[in-house]
């Protein structure tokens, strides 16, 4: 019996069990204190759909042997440029989301190739290089947002007439178009059908991709680069493919995030976006060298549920917002745990 419990614990991972228990406790407290459970669950689901693709974007990088992609902001920036162009052209509705994603993808492919090329030359330090490359690009782009020659009065600062605003409202353009599509309410829980469908569809595509010839060779090269080379797979090439895929997914991910959030956030907003996404996939049970779609789904749900429920529940006990502090501790504690695990150590 004890041995069985232990094997289940090992299978699921102790941090994941702890966090799952924490989610259960939070929801129980919410139920016991007669809080509106329906709206809490609604918010959790909305946030899963909002953040899901950004978390999914990490999967190809891990599977391709690049480690945790702290350079996620590189793809995010591509997606944001797509958003700004679609807004500037005033394309609304689903076509606006598609246009933003298309422009984002178009930029993310060359960006991903360049990023992958750089990571091939900095093997062993991919995570550190990714982190600081992301930081540098986000801060460099801040200058671009300020100087970019956009003139659409809804986008630029009212005073002075130049420089993009820090947050661009999507109200009336494509605010929540995916979230609202086919959405329905059951027992007080509103399901954002369109956004969930989009997320699941992209998950399915990625799942399917890793069963194609190209996907299998990416995962094989991660496993053993010498063996892969003997089988005629160049791991330099597969690593670039993985990097392109992760960057493209990040670009699409931020478009879906923005439409659900209702605002496009520019300047320093993308700076730290990689960290919560990485915490999600790790909570789901991924390691630095291995990740599955299940890890993405479970992790995103657990972490986003905590973030959603922690604030209203804890604010009943104490004044002030402890959820941001809790987020910092859980998120970075989880990443530290993954980095220091002996099993995840590189050769």
């Amino acid at each position: 019996m004890i041995a069985r419990v232990r094997s289940i614990a090992r299978e699921a991972g102790i941090p994941r069990l702890l966090i799952a228990a924490f989610v259960v406790v939070l929801f129980s407290v919410a139920a016991a204190t007669h809080m509106n459970l329906g709206s809490l669950i609604t918010d959790s689901i909305v946030r899963v759909a909002r953040n899901g693709v950004l978390v999914l974007a990490l999967l190809p990088a891990i599977q391709g042997g690049l480690g945790l992609n702290f350079g996620l902001p590189i793809g995010i920036i591509c997606g944001l440029i797509g958003c700004v162009f679609s807004l500037n052209a005033n394309v609304g509705g689903v076509s606006g989301v598609l246009l933003a994603s298309a422009i984002g993808t178009g930029l993310a492919v060359p960006a991903g190739i360049a990023y992958g090329w750089l990571l091939n030359r900095t093997r062993g330090q991919e995570m550190m290089v990714g982190t600081y490359l992301g930081f540098a690009i986000v801060s460099g782009m801040s200058i671009f947002w300020l100087l970019a020659p956009f003139t659409n009065p809804t986008l630029v600062w009212a005073i002075g007439g130049k420089g993009l605003r820090t947050t661009l409202s999507l109200g009336g353009i494509y605010d929540k178009v995916l979230d609202r599509w086919l959405s329905f309410t059951v027992a007080g829980v509103t399901v954002p059908t369109g956004a969930l469908l989009a997320f699941f569809a992209i998950c399915f595509l990625v799942w399917w991709f890793f069963r194609t010839r190209m996907g299998i060779s990416i995962a094989a090269a991660r496993g053993n680069s010498r063996f892969a080379r003997a089988a005629g797979i160049s791991d330099e090439r597969t690593r670039i493919q993985a990097s392109v895929l992760t960057t493209v997914l990040a670009a699409i991910g931020i478009v879906i995030y923005s439409q659900s959030y209702g605002f496009v956030q520019l300047y320093t907003a993308p700076l730290l976006m990689a960290f919560p996404a990485i915490a999600c996939i790790l909570i789901g049970g991924a390691t630095v060298t291995r990740a599955t779609i299940t890890n993405v789904l479970v992790g995103t749900f657990l972490f986003q549920a905590i973030l959603t429920v922690a604030l209203p529940v804890t604010s009943q006990v104490i004044e002030g917002d402890i959820s941001e502090t809790a987020r910092l501790i859980i998120q970075n504690g989880m990443i530290l745990y993954a980095l220091t695990r002996t099993g995840g150590r590189r050769g």
Partner: protein, 355 residues
């Protein structure tokens, strides 16, 4: 030519500073006054990075945790009413054991994440920031008995956003009071702070020559050979981290006594990034840095820091651009150094694999 390329980074950076100085028409007097203050208060933080680099741990992004230890001491000193140079000395004394404990924890983490010390240090800093918030925003005044209406928020727990450090402000800077008149304004010359910086420079140099310092150097060159030679590698790595953390705590206190206010929840956040960027602009690398480079880098980086917003205003009519630019430069410098380091390491590995 080879000589020039070795110094390409600081030369390029100096040219950038010079361009900014000319564009913004900055007077030498203004620049000198800013530099006197900034070099005095930032150098020790930059020096704290040298020992882990020597030991092959790379850039210690975990000095943020040392800075937090310094801030814990500053908060306690204000609470207990310490003032002047004695209060400052007490702060250093209190900060030391706290920083040692933090350094031991960080060193233990680094040993569990060999080859990933830098990213681990960065994330450990973020994690420690969460723990710091938990203690000072929520636990203090509720779980920890700490009742000081001047420091605690009106709700009865949690520290205010700023802690007034006027009681220890300029404690070191004015220990040897010196003022010069320049262009009609009084200019404070923090002689004692410079003495402290020089002492730390000499102490670091002396440390490099000790037995432990030589062991760390051997570890930095090749950890496997060092281990075979009987050097206790894991233990020494922890010691190097502890020394770095303690120096960072002292450096942060030196910084705070000049500033005079502690932004309880923000003062430590940028410490790692700015210290590391400052060291790297001198041409130091992830695996090699000298005391001279630490000082040169501090001067160059802070010159850009002062010049950049003014140049942005003069050239583009917007100081904001200059502010974004200096943050960009800080990140870009770190990125380039990391890329060059990893590039070289990967090439060495490839050549070793060929043999």
């Amino acid at each position: 030519m080879k000589h020039l390329s070795r110094h390409a980074v600081p030369i390029l950076f100096a040219a950038l500073c010079l361009f900014g100085i000319i564009a913004a028409k900055i007077t030498p007097a203004f620049l000198l006054s800013e530099m006197l203050v900034r070099v005095g208060r930032n150098s020790v933080l930059v020096l704290s990075l040298l020992i882990p680099i020597l030991a092959g741990l790379g850039l210690n992004f975990g000095i943020v945790i040392g800075a937090m230890a310094g801030q814990v001491a500053a908060i306690l000193i204000v609470h207990w009413g310490g003032h002047g140079i004695l209060g400052f000395a007490e702060a250093w004394l209190i900060a030391t054991p706290v920083a040692i404990v933090f350094g031991l924890a960080t060193g233990w983490l680094f040993n569990r994440a060999k080859g990933r010390e830098m990213v681990t240090g960065l994330i450990a800093g973020f994690f420690a920031n969460g723990a710091y918030q938990l203690v000072f925003l929520f636990a203090i005044g509720s779980i920890i008995p700490f009742h000081n209406p001047g420091m605690v928020l009106p709700q009865g727990y949690g520290l205010r956003n700023t802690v007034d450090l006027t009681t220890i402000q300029y404690a070191v800077d004015d220990l040897i009071p010196a003022h010069i008149r320049m262009e009609g304004s009084e200019l404070r010359v923090p002689i004692a702070s410079f003495v402290v910086v020089v002492i730390f420079c000499l102490a670091t140099l002396a440390f490099f020559r000790t037995r432990l310092g030589q062991q760390l150097r051997a570890m930095g060159q090749d950890p496997h050979v060092a281990a075979i030679a009987g050097i206790p590698v894991e233990r020494n790595r922890v010691i190097a981290t502890v020394l770095s953390t303690v120096l960072a705590a002292w450096g942060q206190l030196l910084f705070l006594q000049n500033i005079g206010t502690l932004n309880t929840y923000n003062s430590h956040e940028q410490v790692g990034m700015f210290a590391i960027a400052a060291l790297l602009v001198s041409g130091a690398t992830v695996s090699k840095a000298t005391v001279g480079q630490a000082i040169l880098g501090t001067v160059l980086f802070h010159t850009l820091f002062v010049v950049s917003p003014l140049a942005g205003k003069a050239l583009a009519g917007d100081a904001q651009i200059g502010e974004f630019f200096r943050v960009f430069v800080a990140y870009a410098v770190i990125t380039v150094a990391l890329v060059l380091h990893a590039w070289q390491a990967a090439r060495v590995e490839r050549e070793a694999a060929k043999l």
